[in-house]
């Protein structure tokens, strides 16, 4: 027997280090996790808490200077009609975008998960991901051109002799407007387009994990396709839908660029934060506004958990 049967000839500091880490796997995990944990802890949570702290200060009515004393006054200001409008407007928009994205994404994701094979699967991924590759701003500006009064969509309606339909729609208060590009419908459409991939992909992933036999078993036990969808497919895909809705909902809650370019100039939360922290110097109110989406998302996740959305995980 060779003397080297247990110890190979290799040695050196790196080898010794890997030997030592092999014997102490916990140290390896510690080494791997410390940098990201520090990043998350200090940079991310730190800034979050700084923000939170700011929201408990207030701005002095006369001097416009920040008063560094604990108060809930700033949160109270969120409930003034103009500010509360902003919150309601943003939440309604985010909810509408999320529901519409889920409705549109489900069939697409279902097709991709169940039927698309080989080449078509590649086409699906390309189709869903392609919009993500181009610049966000370019997409939003192109939508502005599509929706404009003298834009492509209007032209299309005109060619089809359906302009009366578009005009009747735009005459509806709140969702209508002078043209699609200055209406809420326009903002909604652009949000929907821009965030759609974030809904399609999680749903597709969750649907792929549902075995075909699950649906067959449901049908076998007497459930028609509608019932199978309601009682089996939807509950099993729900974590994916929830994951997607977290993306679309929170992205819509926080976005401040789309409503600035397409829509009626009525503010959304992101824009409010942007203008209050700017020249206005009203950082407490900006911080309080920034807390709103965090609270809403927290409540949303809590309700989803309570309703059993994550039971199939």
């Amino acid at each position: 027997m060779s003397d080297l049967s247990l110890h190979t000839g290799r040695s050196g500091p790196l080898t010794r280090l890997s030997d030592w880490l092999w014997r102490n796997p916990r140290m390896l995990i510690l080494l791997l996790l410390t940098p990201p944990a520090l990043w998350l802890g200090i940079i991310y949570l730190g800034s979050l808490f700084a923000l939170l702290a700011q929201s408990f200060f207030s701005i002095d009515e006369f001097s416009g200077l920040i008063v560094y004393e604990f108060t809930l006054k700033t949160y109270g200001e969120l409930f003034t009609p103009a500010n509360f409008d902003i919150i309601v407007r943003t939440v309604v928009m985010a909810a509408a975008v999320t529901v519409a994205a889920a409705l549109i994404s489900f069939p697409i994701a279902y097709y991709a998960a169940r039927y698309a094979k080989g080449k078509w699967k590649a086409v699906f991924y390309l189709g869903v991901m392609l919009p993500l590759w181009s610049s966000y701003l370019v997409k939003v500006y192109s939508w502005k051109l599509i929706l404009a009064k003298e834009g492509i969509l209007n032209w299309l309606f005109e060619i089809l002799h359906m302009k009366w339909l578009l005009e009747a729609y735009l005459a509806i208060p709140v969702i209508g407007g002078n043209s699609l590009s200055v209406s809420w419908t326009g903002t909604f459409l652009v949000f929907l387009y821009v965030w759609l991939p974030f809904m399609v992909l999680p749903i597709q992933a969750s649907l792929e994990r549902v075995p075909t036999s699950m649906l067959e078993a449901s049908g076998d036990l007497g459930a028609n396709p509608g019932q199978s969808f309601r009682y089996v497919l939807l509950p099993l895909a729900l974590p994916g839908v929830i994951a997607g809705s977290i993306f679309t909902f929170s992205l819509t809650l926080g976005d401040y660029i789309i409503p600035q370019i397409v829509g009626s100039s009525r503010r959304f939360i992101g824009q409010a934060v942007y203008s209050y922290q700017g020249t206005a110097g009203n950082i407490p109110l900006a911080a309080a506004f920034a807390v709103v989406p965090i609270v809403i998302m927290g409540v949303y996740l809590w309700v989803a958990k309570r309703k059993g959305a994550f039971d199939a995980l």
Partner: protein, 386 residues
């Protein structure tokens, strides 16, 4: 947490005060250049022929002085103030809302105009403008100014509109259709000043003396006017290029605007023109200011002289659709600008322009005014339909 933040603020304040006292004295003579000068500027303000070859007012300066010009662009006044607070810059092209803040915060130092040979050529109207001349001290050299004009479609208006009423009140335009949905307004709280300016002319009983200094009653009247305007405006404009697009594709026929958009649209063949109606207009004026702890003061002074004496004033006024701080630049052929061009950009309208400044609660004209942070929240409310 509160006390911690407080003490931090106190610490910073102390440090700022301490360093100010050191830099308070003005330079009395210009030494050799330090080799570079670092400038915070608006986009498009300092061009070295890289965007369009004809527009270059840096290369010659660098050759003549061997001061390398480093530019950091900033998109908002807040960004400018923040960059100057960080330090590491020598100069900034500050607008009226930022300049007074920086003077008050002692972020910029007094400028010795005796060291700038071309100072006498500066527009008399700007030499002691209140946004850079404070307490008998000059805090910079005027750079460029421009009015917020009324841009209108020559198809919808047979003649230039004589009043801002076309964007404030519902009227039937020359083409027989209402202006509802066909006019725009600026998507920023400063637009309240435009409304106040309009009221200053039409409702003298309110006693407005400056559109930037409004008491509660005057302010409420301006907001009421803006609520009427909300019914006419489909979308407020924020970005110059979006407004250009709206005039082309959204059927917009009138809006407050900058000569910049007017020039670009006219260059594109669009049927638009601009005017300054009877009520006068708001406007902006920028100043080159010097950082309190500028590391390259000699090059900075050389650059300030260069901004006034070279082709810069003339070519930049063409490039930006603005007015030079040196009137001679319109006519003496140092650059591309001509007398007609300056007239088009509003050079002769100076007296009718109320230059942009930050509304503060302690105002000169009437003691207590509505401060800017309330302009922000209330304008958001008005746009939101409140």
């Amino acid at each position: 947490m509160t006390s911690f933040l407080k003490s931090c603020t106190a610490l910073v304040a102390t440090a700022v005060v301490a360093s100010q006292s050191l830099a308070a004295d003005m330079i009395t003579e210009i030494g050799p250049g330090e080799g570079q000068v670092n400038i915070v500027a608006w986009p498009g303000y300092i061009e070295r022929g890289e965007t369009v070859a004809d527009f270059d007012w840096v290369t010659k300066f660098e050759q003549a002085t061997s001061c390398k010009v480093n530019v950091k662009t900033a998109n908002t006044s807040d960004e400018m103030v923040a960059l100057m607070n960080e330090g590491g810059f020598d100069l900034v092209t500050a607008s009226g809302d930022a300049s007074l803040r920086m003077i008050a915060g002692k972020r910029v130092q007094p400028v010795n105009i005796d060291l700038i040979p071309s100072w006498p050529s500066v527009d008399e109207r700007l030499k002691e403008a209140p946004w850079h001349y404070v307490g008998g001290v000059h805090y910079g050299t005027p750079y460029m100014w421009g009015p917020n004009v009324l841009m209108y479609s020559t198809e919808a208006f047979a003649e230039a509109p004589t009043s801002w009423s076309v964007v404030f009140e519902e009227t039937t335009l020359a083409d027989g259709k209402s202006n509802q949905g066909r006019v725009q307004a600026y998507d920023g709280p400063i637009h309240i000043a435009d409304a106040a300016n309009y009221l200053m002319y039409h409702k003298p009983e309110l006693g407005i003396t400056s559109p930037y200094e409004l008491n509660q009653e005057q302010y409420d009247a301006a907001l009421d006017l803006l609520r009427v305007q909300r019914g006419l405006v489909s979308r407020y404009w924020h970005d110059a290029f979006i407004q250009i697009d709206d005039f082309k594709n959204e059927g917009i026929v009138a809006s407050g605007s900058w000569p910049f958009q007017v020039n670009l649209l006219q260059g594109d063949g669009a049927k638009v023109a601009s005017t300054i109606p009877q009520e006068g207009a708001t406007g902006w004026a920028d100043t080159t200011m010097m950082h309190a702890e500028a590391e390259n003061p000699n090059c900075a002074y050389m650059w300030m002289e260069h901004t006034l004496s070279s082709n810069l004033q003339s070519d930049l006024s063409v490039w930006f659709g603005a007015n030079p701080a040196v009137p001679a630049a319109c006519t003496d052929g140092r650059g591309m600008q001509t007398a007609e061009g300056c007239t088009k950009n509003g050079m002769d309208e100076f007296e009718r322009i109320k230059f942009w400044q930050t509304p503060v609660s302690k105002c000169e004209s009437q003691g207590t005014c509505v401060p800017y942070y309330r302009w922000v929240s209330d304008y958001i409310g008005v746009i939101g339909g409140r």
